[in-house]
């Protein structure tokens, strides 16, 4: 392109090229501003993130490779050693059936965390799709989706899950996860919808529409990257909530069933012995508590990191 002609008699003759540069020369390599690169930068400096990350790595490896943590078989039970106190041989003692309690608690991580992840991923997909469609199209589409969301939201998940799971004869991870997804997607959907609505009227979306971009392009390129942050943070917190919910349902007798090994079942079995052998309750409670804590802290850290308003 040819050089632009700049007449001299101007209100303010300023050579536009010497406008102060956006950033001092400090960044030789260009800073990434993608959603994840951005978040990663601020997460690395957050001590809570580090703590929760360490805990999560620990629990996740417990769930995937329990044999790394114990050589005992959790299903090898001898009634003769029922309800023993913690000892060098059995770190957490033994349960009513005389099984090594430490290995049972370790093996219990898998089912609890599996339910947490399946439900979190399931609700995340539902929430992102419904929230995106409702928030982007608005009007009657939004009205239908939002009212339906409100209806499901009005049913307490405990009630819904009690009714549904009571009917099922055999309940495994799949069944419990399915019922939890059915009753727990509304909160995240509302969050996603709100997040989408806050971006959908931005001028950069208008600009894309003015260029002739279709709804799919706009949602994918412009709305999703700018609205996903809070939902990703919440989904992590939500995983913690679900692990607690699974324990609650199992404790109430409508969750996982024996012979499955899960923290909820251990809590349920330990309840009658609260006064005589309290450690049977204590150890699974600590594990559930720490897992939920780790997910929630991680979620909070992620939410902060993805929040565009917290940018420097």
């Amino acid at each position: 392109m040819s050089e632009i002609h700049r007449p001299e008699a101007r209100v303010e003759p300023i050579d536009s090229t010497i406008e102060p540069a956006g950033e001092p020369a400090k960044n030789k390599k260009v800073e990434e501003a993608s959603l994840l690169a951005d978040a990663w930068r601020s997460l690395r400096r957050n001590p809570w993130f580090i703590i929760s990350a360490v805990l999560l790595v620990l629990f996740l490896s417990m769930a995937i490779f329990p044999q790394l943590f114990t050589n005992n078989d959790p299903r090898e039970c001898l009634l003769g050693r029922s309800r023993q106190s913690p000892s060098a041989e059995h770190w957490f003692g033994t349960d009513v059936q005389g099984c090594d309690y430490y290995s049972r608690v370790i093996y219990g991580a898998r089912n609890s965390i599996a339910v947490g992840f399946i439900v979190a991923i399931g609700t995340f997909i539902i929430a992102v799709l419904l929230g995106l469609v409702a928030g982007y199209f608005g009007s009657w589409v939004d009205a239908v989706i939002s009212r339906f969301t409100d209806m499901v939201f009005a049913v307490p998940y405990i009630l819904g899950a009690l009714v549904f799971l009571n009917v099922l004869e055999s309940r495994g991870v799949r069944e419990v996860a399915f019922v939890l997804i059915i009753f727990m997607w509304p909160t995240m959907t509302r969050l996603m919808r709100g997040s989408v609505i806050s971006v959908v009227n931005s001028e950069f979306v208008l600009a894309a529409r003015a260029l002739g971009a279709g709804p799919i392009t706009i949602m994918r390129r412009h709305i999703l990257p700018n609205s996903l942050g809070p939902v990703i943070g919440y989904a992590t917190v939500f995983t913690g909530i679900i692990i607690g919910a699974e324990a609650t349902l199992t404790f109430l007798g409508v969750g996982l069933q024996l012979p499955a090994i899960s923290w909820g079942l251990q809590l349920s079995d330990a309840q009658p012995f609260l006064q005589t052998v309290p450690h049977l309750l204590l150890f699974p409670v600590i594990f559930v508590g720490l897992t939920v804590f780790a997910f929630m802290t991680m979620g909070d850290a992620i939410r902060d990191a993805l929040d565009p308003k917290s940018k420097k």
């Binding site: 008699a9 300023i14 102060p20 950069f204 894309a208 260029l211």
Partner: protein, 350 residues
């Protein structure tokens, strides 16, 4: 400051029209109820606006907040569908085209937004932002490659082409607005609608961006519709000026006609509020202070919409709506029954 005043004869008189707007209307319904919405009224944001824009010309649109300027811009971009009226681009009806025809015409009309902080996607690099028009219109893919063309565009708007991989938050407001301008220029449009492109910028940066727009117009023969609420900004860049009040044009004429001989009381009031740089002239000018707020656009006054705040209002103003026509000796179009030039309002020179 000396502004070159165009000759009294309209220099664009023999140029063809690129955009012809006729009777454009947009009413936003006011609804009540959540499930069963019923219409209880309508905000008459744009209510019968007509004008034409000629090749290479800049038409300034001024008016206070809420008078429908930005709605007008969105209607012209087809970001909102009007309730009535026509918009013709070089004789083609822009409002009825669909599909590929619409995409083809969209390339020719581009927009620059007011707020450079929200008009650029914060998650996209500058290169991706300016390349987006080419991705959406593969037919326009530049011969030299998209990336090279983007660098050219950056250079054209006075930015460093090396900054192609940076993200919007790494630029200042003025630089961001230049990115927005580069995006608008990418598809070689004929018309650019500037929706208050400098309102969000510092005064010193405003001048740079205005000069850039001016230079680009000369270089590419662009036509601008320049929307602003700042009279001096509009004066600086416009060939013709339209004054909007409550969804209607109150006065439309050349820059000189509007600024040196305004005939509509509203225009006169607006101009009398512009600060004068020369302190000796300040007392010599009559200042008109309008009473009250603009009326509710959902329920505008009968007849002339300005009559509730007008000191000249008479019976006829309440009963008969004034048309936007040339009246008596006044050469510009004026929507006032009592249109009259008032020498006291405007200083002898400006």
């Amino acid at each position: 400051m000396s502004l070159s005043v165009p000759a009294a004869a309209d220099p664009f008189a023999d140029k063809p029209s690129v955009l012809e707007v006729e009777g454009l209307v947009k009413h936003f319904p006011i609804t009540q109820g959540i499930v069963f919405q019923r219409k209880v009224g309508a905000v008459k944001a744009v209510d019968g606006v007509s004008f034409n824009l000629r090749e290479g010309e800049t038409l300034g649109i001024v008016g206070e907040s809420g008078c429908g300027k930005s709605t007008l811009a969105k209607l012209l971009m087809r970001l909102e569908e009007p309730d009535a009226g026509t918009v013709k681009f070089r004789g083609e009806d822009f409002l009825s085209v669909k599909g590929d025809e619409l995409r083809r015409l969209r390339r020719k009309i581009q927009i620059i937004f007011q707020d450079p902080y929200t008009s650029l996607n914060p998650r996209m690099s500058v290169g991706d932002i300016i390349a987006e028009p080419f991705k959406l219109h593969p037919e326009e893919k530049p011969k030299q490659g998209i990336r090279n063309r983007v660098k050219e565009l950056l250079d054209l708007v006075g930015l460093n082409p090396e900054h192609i991989n940076r993200y919007p938050h790494q630029f200042s407001g003025g630089q961001r607005q230049r990115i927005g301008i580069a995006r608008g220029l990418a598809l070689n449009p004929d018309v650019i609608i500037c929706d208050e492109p400098v309102s969000a910028l510092d005064v010193s940066v405003q001048a740079q961006v205005m000069n850039l727009l001016d230079d680009l117009q000369k270089e590419f023969g662009l036509s601008y519709i320049f929307i602003a609420h700042d009279l001096s900004v509009v004066r600086h860049i416009s060939d013709r000026v339209g004054v909007m009040y409550l969804g209607k044009l109150a006065e439309l004429g050349t820059q000189e006609e509007i600024y040196t001989g305004p005939s509509h009381p509203y225009t006169q009031a607006l101009l009398s509020a512009v600060p004068l740089p020369d302190p000796t002239l300040r007392g010599a000018r009559e200042q008109i202070v309008l009473q009250g707020d603009p009326p509710n656009p959902a329920n505008p006054p009968s007849g002339c919409r300005f009559r509730t705040r007008c000191w000249k209002a008479t019976e006829i103003c309440a009963t008969q709506e004034p048309e936007l026509i040339s009246r008596g000796q006044i050469t510009q179009l004026s929507a006032c029954h009592h249109a009259q030039q008032n020498e006291k309002i405007i200083p002898a020179h400006s």
